[in-house]
């Protein structure tokens, strides 16, 4: 049951017309952020859903070679993305490889999120020497040649899924730790923390039950953007041959396999790359939109915390 109130007929007391309101920056920002969230979510899901359901789709096995059907162009019978140099179905390879890529990405972000949240919150809340140690660690990592170190670790310890996940997590935890730390610094001065102290709560309880729930929303926005970054990092590693080989070749590896044929079979490089780009653009747009939407409440901190893409 809704009541419609008609706008009064007399001329408006102000020169601002509804048209002006619709075109104003603030209105537009709100509208744009909704558009970004929808388009971003759509793009990301357009990749994530087929990847997640790869086993249910009627696809040939990603490892079934068929030398008679080598390098078929896309849209040929039964091969939507065409086939690669060994006659394997490219779509199946991309989707099954994507399962590995996405698993690594999600796991890495979860691990780095846990490390970053814990260390950042403790450093921000306790201050003192804990803060000094954590801040030093953050600075030290910034001055390291990052990709080189990642490659080194993977080359030395073998390109297994746990090693790669761990390596990406180590590369990403400073982002979250820094944000959590600065948010906690603000949060711990608020009256409710003092009140909790007076009520006799222990520091751990205050941190876990009061401070963390208050900052988790903002941290989670960044986690989304880190997921995009993790996918890119994993694809770069596997492009350089430092990606997981089993059970399926991941996206970067598929592209590096296909690059020798780039002159004759464009789809071997173009299509897997487009899939990565679609996913990452989607996740980034989605995160950007969410950030714009929530930006009003605590704009300074989040705006300043833009996603630094790791040096690749």
């Amino acid at each position: 049951m809704t009541t419609v109130i008609d706008a009064p007929e007399q001329p408006r007391p102000s020169a601002v017309t509804p048209r002006d309101v619709a075109r104003a920056g603030a209105t537009r920002r709100a509208r744009d952020s909704r558009t970004k969230i929808w388009i971003g979510g759509f793009l990301a899901l357009a990749v994530i859903v087929p990847v997640a359901l790869a086993r249910l789709l009627p696809l040939p096995s990603p490892d079934a070679t068929n030398l008679a059907a080598r390098r078929l162009p896309p849209l040929t019978e039964g091969h939507l993305f065409g086939t690669d140099q060994l006659g394997r179905d490219l779509l199946a390879r991309v989707l099954f490889g994507g399962q590995v890529s996405l698993t690594i990405g999600v796991l890495a972000v979860v691990v780095s999120g846990l490390i970053g949240l814990t260390l950042g919150a403790v450093a921000g809340y306790r201050g003192g020497w804990t803060d000094t140690v954590v801040s030093r660690l953050l600075e030290a990592q910034l001055s390291l040649p990052l990709l080189m170190m990642l490659l080194l670790v993977v080359a030395l310890f073998g390109p297994s899924i746990p090693v790669i996940t761990f390596v990406i997590a180590i590369a990403q935890w400073p982002e979250i730790a820094r944000l959590t730390r600065s948010l906690t610094l603000v949060e711990r001065e608020k009256p409710y923390v003092a009140a909790a102290h007076v009520l006799g709560l222990r520091n751990t309880a205050i941190l876990l039950r009061h401070v963390v729930p208050n900052i988790i929303k903002q941290v989670s926005l960044v986690v989304l953007l880190l997921l995009a970054q993790a996918v890119l990092l994993e694809s770069a590693l596997s492009y350089l041959g430092a990606g997981p080989q089993r059970p399926f070749a991941t996206w970067g590896r598929i592209i590096s396999d296909g690059q020798d044929y780039v002159t004759t079979s464009w789809w071997l490089v173009t299509l897997p790359g487009l899939v990565i780009a679609t996913l990452v653009v989607g996740v980034n747009l989605f995160g950007d939109g969410l950030r714009d939407r929530d930006g009003g409440a605590k704009p300074k901190l989040l705006q300043r915390f833009s996603l630094r893409k790791k040096e690749i």
Binding site: L146, M149, L151, V280
Partner: protein
């Protein structure tokens, strides 16, 4: 000022030393035998033992480390296994290529991203700005090796304007530079926009406008100058990371720089070469950071180095 520089250099020295120690330890912790990698699968046990003692690998890790530090003090980083030449010299011979590429990329980035960022900031929250915004998001979302391969396909294979790979003539610099710059432009222009939007709301802009300062001067002389420090810091960080981090793009374009050297050194487990690369690139990165910090007082006279951090 000299005291500040000395202090910074001292801190940096410690960082470099710790990095090198970490790399040293990581290498020794890992499974795999460089003697085996060098001699091949057909080598006899005696051959392997001889190679090991030649390379000093039969000593305990601690002794190896002491020797390594001793060599470090003389800038002697050992002999590269695969090049059979002093590792330090091998890295130095590759360095000019990486430097050229990084300088070209950072110049292109600056020239494009600052005007783009200012343009976006002036039209903040309009339809056209949304378009630019989406384009920059796309720019930072494409994997750079893929962008590189696409550029090769387009501009070296389909329309052969530029050489596809290697470094033969100056035009071969174009494609790798553009590949690196696409990502950096996306990141830096967003940052310029953010800083400029912040600067536009500051009181001194209102005062300037009320006094009739032209819009152009307000933007380019006042706002930009006040946004310069964070932007310059970001550019410096990017440049420093390029010096040791254009690995992927160098591999795509078969660019004979440090990045492709690292990949090769890792594949062959060339320990001295890995260590020399890490040393050279981290020292360079730290020097760039220091230079950027020294520029702060020029841009903003309020900054006094060494007396609290300028933020």
């Amino acid at each position: 000022m000299p005291r500040y520089i000395a202090k910074r250099l001292g801190q940096s020295l410690l960082t470099v030393f710790l990095t090198l120690t970490t790399v040293f330890m990581l290498i020794r912790l890992a499974p795999g035998d460089p003697a085996y990698a060098m001699a091949g699968p057909l080598a006899s046990t005696e051959d392997l033992a001889r190679i090991r003692s030649d390379m000093g690998l039969d000593q305990s890790v601690f002794i190896q480390y002491l020797r390594y530090v001793q060599g470090l003090l003389h800038l002697d980083l050992g002999t590269s296994y695969s090049f059979q030449a002093p590792a330090f010299d091998v890295v130095l011979s590759r360095l000019p290529y990486t430097l050229t590429l990084s300088v070209a990329a950072i110049l292109l980035t600056t020239v494009v991203s600052v005007p783009l960022g200012v343009w976006m900031a002036r039209r903040a929250d309009t339809r056209r700005e949304l378009g630019a915004n989406v384009v920059t998001i796309a720019g930072q979302s494409m994997p750079d090796f893929w962008t590189g391969l696409m550029l090769i396909t387009l501009f070296a294979v389909l329309i052969p304007v530029f050489p596809p790979a290697g470094f033969t003539t100056w035009p071969s610099l174009v494609l790798p530079t553009v590949t690196i710059a696409i990502l950096q432009i996306a990141l830096i222009s967003r940052m310029v926009r953010r800083e400029m939007v912040g600067a536009f709301t500051s009181p001194y802009i209102t005062v300037g406008r009320s006094r009739g300062v032209s819009e152009r001067e307000l933007i380019w002389r006042y706002s930009l100058r006040n946004s310069a420090i964070p932007v310059l810091t970001a550019l410096g960080t990017r440049f420093a990371s390029m010096l040791n981090g254009v690995v992927v793009v160098e591999v795509v374009f078969a660019w004979p720089g440090v990045g492709s050297l690292v990949v090769r050194a890792l594949e062959t487990r060339d320990y001295p070469l890995i260590q020399a690369t890490v040393l050279v690139t981290s020292v360079l990165a730290i020097l760039v950071q220091l230079l950027v910090d020294l520029c702060y007082p020029i841009l903003d006279p309020r900054v006094r180095l060494g007396k609290g951090r300028a933020k």
